[in-house]
């Protein structure tokens, strides 16, 4: 096997390298929960997972509510995903993280 092939195999099987990140969340629209992304799917994603998680946390702090019911402007199930919509592990804990799970 050539080195380039070996490196490609390592990149594919061992450590995944995402290209961009988005914050995925759900919110109420006409009494229905819809899934949205920021930045939007038509816009370029963020190139840093640290930035994306910080953004997600700020969105959570800005829109959270104490109520168990989902409020009109509340963002729930906030997490960071990559370009393939796979959840990205939270770099602080190394595990999947969801802000404001409801």
């Amino acid at each position: 096997m050539k080195i380039a092939q070996g490196m490609a195999l390592i990149g594919e099987k061992w450590v995944a390298k995402p290209k961009e990140f988005r914050v995925q969340y759900q919110k109420l629209k006409s009494s229905e929960l819809v899934t949205e992304y920021t930045p939007g799917l038509e816009d370029a994603g963020l190139d840093s997972d640290v930035t994306a998680w910080r953004y997600a946390w700020k969105l959570h702090m800005s829109t959270r509510s104490e109520s168990r019911k989902v409020q009109a402007d509340e963002l729930i199930n906030i997490r960071v995903v990559d370009e393939c919509n796979n959840p990205v592990a939270y770099y602080v804990t190394g595990e999947n993280q969801i802000f404001n799970p409801k």
Binding site: V15, K19, D47, S48, T51, Y91, T93, G94
Partner: protein
């Protein structure tokens, strides 16, 4: 006295005969200069969308400016009463000369080793180049100060242009204790770098064991990123390395000093240091 009155009379006759034309000539000059300046500014703004190279754009804008100024001055002189053929010939000669200097000789002038937008370090100043003129360069530091640096001092000094190449290497060194898993440390560092979207695949990230120090093992992480991402990537990688080490149970080394003291119960507490040392030297147990 009569001579002076005659002179005044001649002057007044001249003024009455040519005054209106001179006034109109002056108006043409002022309005022309004002309009030309406005037009040059607009042209520069419009061209910045098409021509990215500031030097090329500057040559085009300045050439148009010279031609327009020439037209304004010619029109003003002709209005005042100058010979149109001679005025046009003179203006064309001067214009061709100036444009020739701009287009032909400008590339031969010593150029600065950076362009607007580059991040450079000259002397003790580190900042972004906002613009250059013939005399000085405007540099804005990252804390918001603006410096006007004479080009002469720049050309005579060592300049670091951080944007000359597209990529730059990130260097992060960590020190772990001798009791830590060195292999796990290296794997964690490499994984953190590979997982970051901004770290380039080629050249691939590398981890080196740099030094065996008094406090621990110094390990170096090296990777390449685009110049524009350098600072944020370095900071983010440093943060992620800290958290990854916490998750993997890898402890950083701290500066520490082992202090040993010998205790002998018969030594008086009020004894001086010399007496204590003498006792220790002479004591058979020690």
């Amino acid at each position: 006295m009569e001579d002076q009155i005659n002179r005044l009379r001649v002057f007044l006759d001249l003024l009455l005969a040519n005054g209106p034309r001179m006034l109109i000539g002056l108006i043409i000059l002022f309005l022309g200069v004002f309009f030309t300046k406005w037009l040059i500014k607009k042209l520069n703004t419009r061209l910045s969308g098409f021509i990215k190279n500031p030097a090329t754009r500057s040559v085009i804008v300045n050439t148009v400016g010279v031609l327009l100024y020439a037209v304004v001055v010619a029109g003003s002189l002709i209005q005042v009463g100058a010979n149109p053929a001679r005025v046009i010939a003179l203006i064309m000669f001067v214009s061709v000369g100036v444009i020739g200097i701009l287009v032909v000789f400008r590339p031969l002038l010593p150029s600065l080793p950076f362009k607007a937008g580059d991040v450079v370090k000259t002397g003790t100043l580190l900042g972004r180049v906002e613009g250059t003129t013939i005399l000085n360069t405007r540099l804005r530091t990252f804390d918001g100060k603006t410096f006007f640096v004479p080009n002469k001092s720049i050309l005579n000094d060592v300049i670091i242009n951080y944007y000359y190449t597209k990529t730059r290497r990130v260097k992060i060194n960590v020190t772990v204790g001798y009791d830590q898993d060195l292999l796990k440390t290296k794997q964690a560092l490499e994984a953190v770098m590979i997982e970051d979207a901004r770290v380039l695949v080629k050249p691939s990230p590398q981890v080196y064991v740099l030094n065996l120090t008094l406090n621990g093992i110094e390990v170096g992480a090296r990777c390449w990123v685009d110049n524009t991402n350098f600072w944020m990537t370095k900071c983010d990688l440093t943060e992620k390395i800290k958290y990854r080490f916490d998750q993997e149970g890898i402890a950083f080394a701290y500066n520490k000093l082992d202090v040993q003291y010998l205790k002998k119960s018969n030594v008086s507490r009020s004894g001086t240091l010399d007496e204590v040392q003498a006792y220790q030297l002479n004591s058979p147990e020690i």
